[in-house]
Symmetry: C2
Subunit: 497 residues, 2 copies
């Protein structure tokens, strides 16, 4: 039995979650359904809801939290929930109501502008929106306060406790082995994946995506898949967790791996405990742990031989030529092919992190004011060429490709790399802890891994920070060599012959 | 320039409209997208939003209204908006916060239960929900207060100023000519519409529905069409007005006329003035005037010879047999065929009103407590047979067919009949006022009628009551003989030969 003050706090937290669900639906709808002419007013409507939500934090959640603290927690579970709520609430209350409203309206408009700008590769029309967002995010960092760099204040919202300096150190440790691995790979005979780029009807791809989701354990009774420009997953509470995909007739691979990726996010959200809806106990830990859940399914599972064994018959059935003359080992090599390219979400597991380094550096420079938004395309293109070795042809393939900045999500990108690192570490542990894990995967039986993740990751909610969850699940905090070992072993197999 | 106090009032009203838009989207989503397992939590989330909205009425709108009243209106426009807002606000504030929350949760759950109950024709599973809703609506009537019948208090929410006694008198005046017309029609050789019941692919029907919407002037840049069990239209502000349709392969007619119907509602909402979003000046007048806008397009236009002339080539192209040997006059007779039947939304223009009389009588009895919910199916079936002359085979074809009661919309049904009456009166006036109206319609040029309605109906918003709008547009308040004259003339043409 929860204490009465804690029960009242849980009710109050659930009301905030209810408003988040409404805002989540409005945002989902904006990307999946909304007509262009409806965008401006929708932005203002979301601004009103966000402001109301923000006001409720001080008029409803804060008093309930204060009362729960006065009453004292009944047990360690209550204590941990209260402490986590207090931390995030204190942070949120540093933002004035008017600022929250302004930011919500600006990002909603920017999102519409970005969609059009990207379609036309027209940075000029997006520029004023991004300028406004960067200015707002700098103000936001000032409201939060920070010791060293304003970026720390923003990163903390996605990766509690994370700092720019830590990320920089991590990236400095990660870059040399990645670059070394990349030059070795580039010195080997290259892998050709042209056979995977055959035309497959979008409706057949769609049907296959639903089959894969079902196999992986996505619960269609508490969610749905739709199409959108940029695939995403979103939760309106654990009982309504939706994902989207993007279909292209000549790219089954893109559909398959983005579907598995979003499914990984959704399994995490659907796996949170409905009894604690609204409380930290039933919230995702952090963006990096969230990303570890998408990546463990997309990369460690989905790009592994066992998974491809499980899908081999389906894949042969889907391709017009039945992939005649190939084995699932050939497909394994193709889907793990390393090839420097322009688009982050289509990048391989190695060069992907070069894209992240680029964005991290540019975000740091934008937030510190060293880089003007007007100079972003040039700065992007120059540094991209240094890192990835390719010359960017246009902004749609450069600084306009991602939705994040139009969302106001500056400080978000590093969590993708952290997610890959956590994923490798979790997978290595699960592979020892779950008997015959890879035989199960090869047989299309994904339940044992799903259940291991539920027990070792999902059930902690955000009662612990990323590194604590990692340590609870794997016995040690983040250890990036788990990722470089994994990637190097895989690529040596791919590029061995 | 609006006075400052009025401008602040308009801002406050816009915030309420923003919350209404969020609730509207959640409700749209519930009928179009939501997975079954998500329904319970969605209900609670909507309850939270509705309660917040209700609280905002007293904490935000009421003070703004009081200040605007103190400051005094700058002109007649401000005065009228303030008066209308005051009337609806006073009514809304009679409901306690907790009641609003309870009703929203109950109707959201009931909506889910009704969908399942209707599918299985299983009244027993819906019964407890309806019992709860009837009890809540009786409490609601008590909160509002009433002079004669609790039904008056509910009807007033849909038809301001309307009373059960007025509706009863109107129906007593309407029933004899309708019954007389019906027996004359039944004495004539019957019209066979089997030729219209050929199988047409749902995707071709869908495409045709989009063409018709475009022709009628529906703005796809500020809305969209989807599929749902029960067709409906919903506005999230004039910039996002959505409609749904329901497709059946062997019933193009049902699709076509429900699409035109919902389009009529949507043209009205899209035609409200965006400059006054949230104010009575930019809200629909009443449900009966709303319904007049759907019915004028569905029946007076859509079932008329000129419209069928405009669609004749398209219809021939759609039907597998090209409607060979028929003329558009034959189709005119078929789509105006009178045939007593079970389902209200599929009923012809004559017997439709017998369905409404039935629901009105049953609602009166439920609300007064004379009829227990448990006895509803039997009462429905008995009275239906007296009125329509058919024996109801199961509850899916009887008391489970409509979504209204699960929505808590008791008192709503009479507005459908009022809508038909207003539509006939408006059409008769437009036909005189707009030069060559029917030649335009026959040429597929629907703009002149759309513009006449915009000038004579849409632009009044809800600054006037139904009868005032009717009088402004047609020169006289509601005159039911316009409808009986119209229907009798049409049916005499249909059943003449």
């Amino acid at each position: 039995m929860p204490s009465p003050a804690f029960a009242a706090l849980a009710d109050s937290a659930a009301r905030i979650a209810d408003l988040d669900a409404a805002l989540g639906l409005m945002s989902w709808d904006q990307e999946v359904n909304l007509a262009l002419g409806s965008g401006a007013r929708r932005g203002r409507q979301m601004g009103t809801l966000a402001a109301l939500r923000h006001r409720l934090l001080s008029t409803d959640l804060k008093p309930a939290l204060d009362r729960a603290r006065e009453a004292g927690p009944a047990d360690a579970f209550e204590a941990r929930n209260v402490a986590q709520l207090a931390h995030s609430l204190e942070r949120a209350l540093r933002l004035p109501d008017t600022f929250v409203h302004e930011l919500t309206v600006a990002t909603s408009h920017a999102q519409q502008a970005w969609e059009q700008a990207k379609r036309r590769s027209d940075f000029a029309t997006f520029r004023p929106h991004l300028e406004q967002i960067v200015a707002l995010k700098r103000r936001e960092a000032d409201y939060y306060g920070y010791a060293v760099h304003p970026y720390d204040a923003l990163l903390d919202g996605y990766e509690p406790g994370g700092t720019a300096a830590q990320v920089r150190t991590l990236f400095e440790r990660l870059l040399p082995p990645l670059r070394e691995l990349l030059s070795w790979v580039r010195s080997r005979p290259q892998v050709d994946d042209a056979r995977l780029r055959q035309r497959i009807d979008e409706s057949r791809q769609w049907d296959y995506s639903l089959v894969v989701l079902q196999q992986l354990g996505y619960d269609f009774d508490r969610g749905r898949q739709d199409r959108s420009t940029h695939p995403f997953s979103i939760s309106m509470g654990m009982d309504d967790v939706r994902i989207t995909t993007h279909l292209q007739a000549d790219d089954l691979q893109a559909m398959l791996y983005s579907t598995i990726h979003e499914c990984g996010h959704a399994l995490y959200e659907q796996g949170l405990d409905p009894a604690h809806y609204g409380l930290p106990a039933a919230e995702a830990c952090s963006l990096s742990i969230h990303e570890s859940q998408s990546r463990i399914w997309e990369n460690n599972v989905g790009r592994g031989l066992p998974f491809l064994t499980s899908q081999w018959a389906a894949l042969q059935g889907l391709y017009p030529d039945g992939l005649a003359g190939l084995t699932h080992r050939d497909v394994f090599r193709m889907v793990n092919r390393v090839e420097p390219s322009f688009i982050r979400i289509a990048a391989d597991e190695l060069t992907y992190h070069l894209h992240i380094v680029l964005r991290f550096e540019l975000e740091l420079a934008l937030i510190s004011g060293e880089l003007a938004v007007a100079d972003l395309p040039a700065a992007w293109n120059e540094r991209f060429e240094q890192l990835v070795g390719l010359r960017v042809p246009d902004d749609a393939h450069g600084c306009l490709q991602d939705v994040h900045w139009s969302h106001g999500s500056l400080g978000y990108f590093p969590t993708y790399t952290l997610g890959s690192l956590y994923a490798a570490q979790l997978y290595a542990t699960a592979n020892v802890a779950v008997p015959d894990l890879e035989s199960h995967l090869a047989a299309g039986n994904f339940g044992p891994l799903h259940q291991w993740l539920a027990r070792n990751v999902y059930r902690h909610g955000r009662l612990y920070c990323s590194d604590e969850v990692c340590a609870l699940a794997t016995g040690e905090p983040l250890n990036p060599t788990r990722f470089t070992d994994y990637l190097s072993a895989k690529l040596r197999a791919v590029y061995a012959d």
